[in-house]
């Protein structure tokens, strides 16, 4: 453990008390990306401990290590000073760790009572004791303040109710450590109050509560300790009382932008729109958004995950129906084609969609690079046309994109993430579309490949194309985009020029819908 971390810990926790949980030099990688890098800090019994940071900072990964979902690659987790290692969620639960996962884990075909006690059913004569299960479930639901019958099947509940039951499930386990992963994402205000009371009860009962959130209000309201993670590294652990809103935001974003990004092009003199979106409602009951993307421009839809950026770009791509409004794609000759009907119509209108999950949605994994890119070239050809792929063009494109592969016959599944991403984008470049809708252009890609992908996208718009991207990385928006539209609760709350935007302003708009206090003062 580093000296600094030691010092911080002893400052945070009065000497003499062994921490309930201590993380020591935890490192975890997924493929080539390091999700957590030498993270060390501790949590004390009887405290509510916030784990916060930007999207992708490693918060959920860290808690999943504690919950036994997967083991750390190196480093150790100590319980009451003793090193422990869980090989399954069941083992972590048996050791007293209860987790309320961000994604719902309720089983839709079981009743509330069955869900609450799955994995540790009360038993009588070796059989599941259903009356005891119902009784105990009723007690737990009352404690949490959920007015639902234990015999109701969970699949019949509304989403907000399911989240409350998920929280009750965490409370039902008699655990010393309770982890909440973004528990309020789907809760309404009364639900949040119920959760706050429950957490306070758990704190008083001497439990250690880890509370993952990037909602600053909740952190200041509920948590007495705060740990900030950034890019998988530990930034600071300190009492929440020592922090202000602004101090916390700058801890979350504090990082220098490397020269990762290409120069922005000259502002297009005549803003010739390639894409115009008008009063577009992407999800039921959502807000309407209107914006345009001009040729020569990269526009980013920024915001916290789950606030509707994904729905907007997917509805524009025609993957999901939109509720109201419309979107037009303008060709160079000025003719307009409507967007958002179906994915086939989108491609026919000359708009390419690059999905975030290249493994399952984007690439034909077992096929070769040549075939993956060639499928883009064949766009618009008749089904019965001879499928001849111009290999010279594929090779030229591979060279231009700097795809590192043996040759164009190598299967895409054997490429690294960055090279796969290039092939996916290359397919659309080869197809001759002039508007790209891109989700997470560089997810799971190393820094070198990132820079190359940014360069490719910039070259694409410089040649008269237009791109709309979503990304969970703020720095990507700020470094790459000409304009950033910040989405909060489905609506555009601000539009910033890429040059002027800082992580603080973008985060502030995304989190609380207004500029940071320093700027407004």
């Amino acid at each position: 453990m580093s000296l600094l971390a030691l010092k911080e810990r002893s400052a945070a926790h009065p000497a003499g008390r062994t921490p309930k949980v201590e993380f020591r030099n935890i490192t975890k990688r997924f493929d080539s990306t390091e999700a957590l890098s030498v993270v060390s800090f501790a949590g004390m019994a009887g405290s509510v401990h916030a784990i916060t940071g930007e999207n992708g900072a490693g918060k959920s990964t860290l808690m999943k290590l504690l919950a036994g979902v997967y083991p750390p690659d190196s480093g150790e987790i100590l319980f009451d000073g003793r090193a422990i290692r869980f090989d399954s969620p069941a083992a972590a639960r048996a050791a007293g760790v209860s987790t309320v996962f961000q994604e719902l884990t309720l089983l839709p075909n079981l009743t509330i009572a069955e869900n609450l006690f799955l994995g540790r059913e009360p038993r009588r004569f070796g059989f599941a004791d259903r009356s005891a299960m119902r009784r105990q479930a009723h007690a737990v639901l009352q404690r949490v303040g959920v007015d639902l019958h234990p015999d109701v099947t969970c699949g019949d509940l509304a989403i907000a109710e399911q989240h409350l039951v998920e929280i009750a499930k965490g409370a039902a386990a008699q655990a010393d450590i309770v982890i909440y992963d973004e528990p309020t994402a789907a809760l309404d205000a009364p639900g949040v109050d119920k959760l706050a009371r429950l957490i306070e009860d758990q704190r008083r009962a001497g439990k250690l509560v880890f509370y993952i959130s990037h909602r600053l209000d909740e952190i200041f309201r509920l948590c007495d300790m705060t740990t900030v993670l950034k890019d998988g590294k530990h930034v600071r652990t300190c009492p929440t009382a020592d922090l202000t809103h602004d101090a916390l935001v700058s801890l979350m974003v504090g990082r220098e932008l490397a020269r990762l990004y290409p120069e922005r092009g000259a502002k297009p003199s005549t803003a010739e729109a390639a894409l115009r979106v008008t009063d577009f409602v992407a999800r039921p009951g959502g807000a309407a958004v209107s914006f345009a993307v001009a040729r020569g421009e990269i526009v980013g839809l920024a915001g916290i995950e789950g606030h509707g950026q994904r729905e907007i770009i997917r509805a524009l791509a025609g993957l999901a129906p939109h509720m109201a409004g419309g979107a037009l794609k303008f060709d160079r000759d000025g003719s307009a084609k409507p967007l958002g009907g179906s994915i086939v119509a989108t491609a026919r209108a000359g708009v390419g969609f690059v999905p975030e999950d290249r493994k399952t949605e984007g690439l034909y994994q077992p096929l070769s690079i040549q075939e993956n890119i060639g499928l883009g070239m064949l766009r618009g050809a008749s089904m019965m046309a001879r499928a001849k792929i111009d290999r010279n063009r594929v090779r030229a494109l591979m060279q231009q994109m700097n795809v590192r592969a043996r040759d164009d016959r190598q299967s895409v599944s054997s490429l690294s993430g960055g090279n796969q991403q290039k092939v996916m984008i290359g397919r659309w470049l080869a197809s001759g579309v002039d508007v790209l809708l891109i989700e997470e252009p560089t997810r799971g890609v190393d820094v070198g490949a990132k820079a190359e992908i940014y360069r490719l996208l910039r070259a694409f718009v410089d040649a008269g194309g237009a791109a709309l991207i979503t990304s969970s990385e703020l720095t990507e928006h700020i470094g790459l985009c000409d304009r950033i539209l910040i989405i909060r609760e489905g609506a555009i709350v601000a539009e910033l020029a890429g040059e002027e935007a800082t992580e603080e302003t973008v985060m502030s708009y995304a989190l609380i819908g207004r500029p940071p206090e320093r700027a407004s003062r």
């Binding site: 089983l107 075909n109 069955e114 994995g119 599941a128 699949g155």
Partner: protein, 310 residues
């Protein structure tokens, strides 16, 4: 409370079709076939469907975790062969032991090596059928006297088949509805990942389900061999797929998590009544298969698919 109990029907998969089909068949046959209600005919139907019922109950358990086991028919055949080959005192334990081994192999292949259940059980089906034919190339031999007695005797006016059915339904009901294991079966079938995150082991119950299904095949094989009193290496050939037909007619969903013992029973009765009715009405047995196929497609199309997790 009544609203609650109606809602709970959701995971049984029982619906208008699975309940109405056997009933409609019943009404139709009692109107058109005068012999249908004879005590003799009812007993006939019972003994005809007993083996399929037992196999279908095993298939149900596997379907609930989202699997399928088409090797169970071969297990019936192998059991029949073992019963006439092995020393009478050891014949039944040998058959049950072989079934356990086959189920274990299926379960390990699916749970640990991620082989698709259809491929895994297709492989064991082929292997086990070959094994049975290697042991005995055609029907012959004598089944142990005790087995014959258990399958053919009647008690208090009820044929043995009736007790075999009651026992099988009782055992599987207790496993699925009363045990902790049963609850996990439904949970894993709905979403294995969520079940694992909730602290319910996944691989163990999966393997156990395949073993249970193979054991059901062995029990059905014992019953059938007792009835015909001789060994037959192709005795179970139809059961692998017929049992899937039966549970599908009974509203069990092959994607897992939705189904019931009642559904498996009703589906089997439907199939039994079709066969029996066509027989009574003098329809060609080949036409029987045509009708079953159409009925299966029609019934499944009419059942609103209970989408889990959306």
């Amino acid at each position: 409370m009544s609203a609650v109990s109606v809602r709970r029907l959701g995971r049984t998969g029982l619906g208008l079709v699975s309940l109405g089909l056997p009933l409609a068949m019943f009404v139709l046959l009692s109107a058109r076939a005068p012999d249908f209600f004879g005590l003799q005919n009812i007993a006939n139907v019972n003994s005809q469907i007993t083996a399929l019922l037992i196999v279908a109950l095993g298939q149900l358990v596997v379907a609930l975790i989202g699997g399928i086991d088409i090797s169970v028919g071969s297990v019936v055949s192998l059991t029949s062969v073992l019963l006439v080959l092995v020393d009478p005192a050891l014949a039944v334990p040998a058959a049950l032991g072989a079934a356990c081994a086959i189920g274990l192999a299926n379960g390990i292949g699916v749970a640990f090596f991620n082989v698709h259940p259809l491929i895994m059980t297709l492989a064991t089906m082929t292997f086990v059928q070959g094994l049975a034919l290697l042991f005995v190339s055609s029907a012959g031999g004598t089944a142990p006297a005790a087995v014959v007695m258990l399958a053919r005797a009647s008690f208090g006016g009820f044929p043995a088949a009736f007790f075999w059915c009651v026992l099988a339904i009782g055992v599987v009901s207790i496993i699925l509805y009363k045990s902790r294991f049963g609850l996990r079966v439904f949970a894993i079938g709905a979403n294995a990942q969520s079940a694992a995150l909730s602290g319910a082991g996944v691989s163990g119950p999966r393997i156990a389900c395949y073993i249970l299904c193979s054991l059901a095949g062995a029990v059905a094989g014992i019953y059938l061999t007792g009835r015909i009193a001789t060994g037959d290496p192709t005795l179970g050939q139809a059961f692998g797929l017929d049992s899937v037909t039966a549970i599908a007619l009974g509203g069990v969903q092959l994607s897992g998590g939705v189904g019931s013992v009642a559904g498996a029973v009703l589906g089997t009765i439907t199939l039994g009544l079709i066969a029996n009715g066509m027989n009574l009405l003098g329809v060609s047995p080949f036409f029987h298969a045509v009708v079953t196929g159409c009925l299966l497609l029609g019934a499944i199309s009419l059942q609103r698919r209970k989408v889990i997790g959306v």
